[in-house]
């Protein structure tokens, strides 16, 4: 168990800037991977975690080169090997599982053939042995019916199944070391939990060492024995997983853990100020100095070395870590939200809304026939009160973004009505809406890289809505823009910057400012924090909450992340396959009794705590189409009671907590089942 299979020694990797300066991305990194051990490398985007992981299999991205140090795999330096020598090691000794298996698999070759190829390259088995091995591997990664699975094409599998195939391919060469680069990041919560469980099983079963790279401390907590925390190209903290997660003695890790929203806490997580320094901008002192609340003048001048602390078996790069140990720090705290004084006026009503992506066929149009009997989104009834934050939650394909688009008028509804302020009907066609209604409903998108015009300055971006709705110009326009920037806590000097000059969090704040420029009544937030790093996510959530408290805006908040939803929302609507399952005040939806689907979702949430294991109750198969009859969740429901679920649409039941559940099981019975 204590045999070291790969060790990185004083590794620095860098590139030459346009001005000929040498800029390092990794600085003096040293770590060891022991046999049979799973090491989690965690850090925000740009921290160098992927560069480190790839260097561990002897791969360095184009444009980068090693400055010093070595990567020893079984006492051979990978970075000095020729590509011939590396070929013998990659796949056989060290295998990699990519982030997006859907893109890593060749789309026009069958799954079986692709695994066979890996076997041909890395083993000496003959054809019949290989065929046997393929179904053995598919069995091992728990894919349903391995015999037929081998004859399928990648696009016929769901995202989780594709990831399993990638795991099977990596295992084909019986590697000693498995490298996983964000293997579950693109997957749905329930699928993610299942894949992680599989990885943990494989690590134990085969004794393979794993390097698990992720930005998600929740996922890292589930699989790792040891955790390495990276910040700005350095290891800042390294030690046993439990110690790192329970008693983080580096201020960055501590802040990171605090900024993750947790299911058990209702309020907003604390945010960390600032953002990670760019490579090459650190000249002296500690790289975390700017954002650290323990920093002293000593930290500004001197950069700390990695210090080993015996009693915790931990390496830490901080002068003041003792203060963190001495402080009686509680990770389980949050900022309490002001409860919304919603005046119970309904601003937006969705009544029997159905949305279909299917185009009506020409002949059906002539005969006035409705062609799609089974629309993507069906029978949505939600009344949204003024000043509240209502969250729509569900996995991908649950129709949550579709509903948001049709509220914004970007997608026509098939049936039903959207009513706005005093029961006034809102046209489902954008062009038929009056300018004031368009102003009143604003959108914030998931990815600020796509939602901000890259060729506009922040000033131009923010002036668009101000010019359009309020006809502002000159000094007044400028004053308004500065005000908006102030609201999202950005300085005046940001006006002349282009989006590419901003960090992810800053970009999203500009997007928030643009939405608020219209002085809207309702803001539709589409996964607004999903593309951001955790420490930045908390800051954006805090700004959104602050603005809401100040201005009384109503939010419709779409997210797949239940913990984030818990932190920000007043009311939650759970969707599955475009049908409502449960709706109610958020503190009650997170309590039992709940709809079986909510139960599955809650069980799959990954918390950054090694003691809280996900509860896997339902299969992680993904359904492509909503069922035509009966309950929408019939295909995966762990509490299915019989034919009634397949045939009849379940009735709404209202629990004593005020949350409405759509299930055939009596609500009291459900409560006792879920105890």
């Amino acid at each position: 168990m204590n045999e070291i299979i790969e060790s990185v020694k004083n590794l620095s990797i860098g590139f030459n800037s346009q001005k000929g300066k040498q800029i390092s991305i990794l600085r003096n990194v040293s770590t060891n991977i022991k046999k049979g051990e799973t090491v989690g490398i965690v850090g925000e985007s740009g921290s160098g975690k992927s560069t480190l992981a790839l260097a561990m299999m002897g791969y360095i991205k184009q444009g980068l080169f090693p400055l010093k140090g070595e990567c020893l795999f079984k006492s051979e330096d990978l970075l000095k090997m020729s590509s011939r020598q590396l070929e013998k090691i990659r796949g056989r000794k060290i295998a990699m599982i990519p982030q997006n298996a859907g893109q890593a698999l060749t789309p026009n070759l069958k799954i079986g053939y692709q695994i066979d190829e890996a076997l041909r390259l890395h083993t000496d088995l003959n054809k019949t042995e290989r065929d046997k091995k393929i179904s053995e591997l598919l069995n091992k990664v728990r894919l349903p019916s391995p015999e037929t699975m081998a004859f399928r094409y990648p696009h016929e599998l769901s995202g989780g199944q594709q990831q399993r195939v990638a795991v099977a391919m990596a295992l084909a060469g019986k590697p000693d070391l498995l490298l996983l680069d964000e293997p579950t990041t693109g997957l749905d919560v329930t699928t993610q939990a299942h894949v992680l469980e599989l990885l943990r099983f494989i690590a134990k079963d085969t004794g393979t060492s794993m390097i698990y790279v992720s930005h998600d401390l929740g996922a890292i907590a589930q699989v790792s024995d040891r955790i390495v925390v990276m910040y700005a190209g350095e290891i800042v903290l390294e030690g046993p997983a439990r110690k790192i997660l329970k008693e983080p003695i580096h201020p960055y890790t501590y802040g990171l853990l605090k900024s993750i929203p947790k299911l058990s806490l209702a309020g907003l997580p604390a945010s960390m100020p600032g953002s990670q320094p760019q490579p090459g901008s650190i000249n002296e002192g500690c790289s975390f100095y700017d954002r650290c609340n323990l920093a002293t003048d000593h930290c500004k001048k001197n950069s700390p070395d990695l210090e080993h602390i015996k009693e915790l078996d931990t390496n830490v790069r901080c002068f003041n870590h003792k203060e963190l140990i001495n402080q009686n720090n509680n990770l389980q705290t949050s900022i309490t939200k002001k409860s919304n004084n919603s005046e119970a006026i309904e601003v937006l009503k969705l009544k029997d809304v159905s949305i279909s992506y299917a185009k009506q066929k020409f002949f059906d149009q002539l005969l006035n026939k409705i062609s799609d009997q089974n629309p993507t989104v069906k029978d949505i009834n939600i009344d949204i009160k003024k000043g509240e934050t209502i969250a729509l939650v569900g996995e991908s394909g649950s129709g949550k973004s579709t509903i948001l688009k049709s509220i914004a008028g970007l997608l026509k509804t098939k049936d039903g009505q959207i009513k706005f302020e005093n029961d006034r009907l809102l046209s489902s066609d954008l062009k038929m809406r009056n300018p004031n209604d368009l102003r009143a409903i604003q959108l914030i998108f998931q990815n600020p890289d796509e939602s901000l015009n890259p060729n506009h300055t922040v000033e131009q971006i923010l002036s668009q809505p101000l010019k359009l709705y309020f006809n502002l110009s000159g000094e007044e326009l400028k004053k308004n823009i500065i005000d908006l920037l102030k609201k999202v806590r950005l300085g005046e000097f940001y006006m002349s910057r282009y989006p590419r000059q901003l960090s992810g969090g800053e970009k999203q704040r500009v997007a928030v400012a643009r939405a608020f420029a219209a002085k809207p009544d309702i803001i539709l937030c589409d996964e607004v924090t999903s593309a951001l790093d955790v420490s930045v996510q908390a800051a954006v959530l805090n700004i959104l909450q602050q603005l809401k408290e100040d201005l009384g805006t109503t939010y419709v908040f779409v997210s797949h992340d239940l913990a984030v939803v818990r932190a920000i929302s007043d009311r939650v609507a759970v969707l599955y396959q475009g049908r409502l399952c449960e709706i109610g005040p958020s503190q009650n939806v997170y309590k039992f009794p709940s709809h079986p689907y909510t139960e599955v979702l809650l069980g799959a949430v990954l918390e950054p705590d090694p003691d809280i294991k996900p509860k896997l109750v339902a299969e992680d198969i993904v359904e492509e189409k909503p069922p035509e009859k009966g309950c929408s969740f019939q295909g995966r429901c762990p509490r299915k009671i019989g034919d009634i679920c397949n045939l009849e649409v379940p009735p709404w039941q209202i629990g004593e907590n005020g949350n409405a559940i759509r299930c055939h099981i009596n609500i009291d019975e459900l409560a006792s089942l879920q105890q």
Binding site: G274, P277, S281, R439, Q446, Q464, L468, E506
Partner: protein, 297 residues
Amino acid sequence: MQSNLVTEDKQKNKLEKSFEILKTMASKPSGLIGLTIVLFHVVLALISPYIAPYDYKAISPNTMLLAPSAEHWFGTDSLGRDVFTRTILGGRTALTVTFFGSLIALLWGGLLGIFCGLVGGKIDDVVMRVVDAFLSIPWILAMLLIVSLLGTSTEVLIPALGFFYGKGIVRVARAATHDVIAKDFIVSARARGHSNMSIIWNEIIPNVRDAILVEGAMRWSWMLLGFSSLSFLGFGVSPPTPDWGLMISNARGLMSFAYWSVIAPIVGLSSLIIGINLTADAFAKALGIDRSTKAPV
């Protein structure tokens, strides 16, 4: 920390930005050569009337088909005119006509392409089929028809060339627009209720401008070749105005014994075309557009 990066990447006004692009273009040998050739031709076209040693239309039976000498650097042609004088003057009409022709092509092709890309649907279908239909007509036949009906004046040639070379730009502009309109900032502008014109002007043009400009530069060199072909066939510039295409056409019969009268205009024409091509490629690289990944249309 972030601010360090930003001070490096300071705000640049438009002039500084164009200068920066020129600098990047000139930093590679091919770009530098291209720029030098184009600059040379443009300067020559501007000053040639003042530096020409002889009168370009002075016919003299005494100096017919003289070989290159100290007096006549590039020799003389079959009518006794100085080839050097005619060569340095010969690019003027071609450059002017094709430059304005390209501008027209860029304008109508670019705007129509962007519009079709944005609105999509039936309008897009109809317009694109019409453009396809025009693409299938051999341009030189159509040009010959127009020229024989309306004459060979520049007022006819510029819009006619502009029209025929703009068809391809429609497709490029439409494809570039398709890349942009899928982005959320267009959706956002739509949801805010901006008009189509405002979306085209504010959101799309800044993002497709580069691709269209590069395409326009490319079309310029093709148009130059096309214009010279027209002159060669006798449908471009009318004699005695000096023009490369016309000079090549007149001198090619005498090539076997008076090579000088045909070589000079050929070198002039091909060097300008190569120069524009190299410049367009360097321009594309400086703007970060990879032409090799985009199929030429």
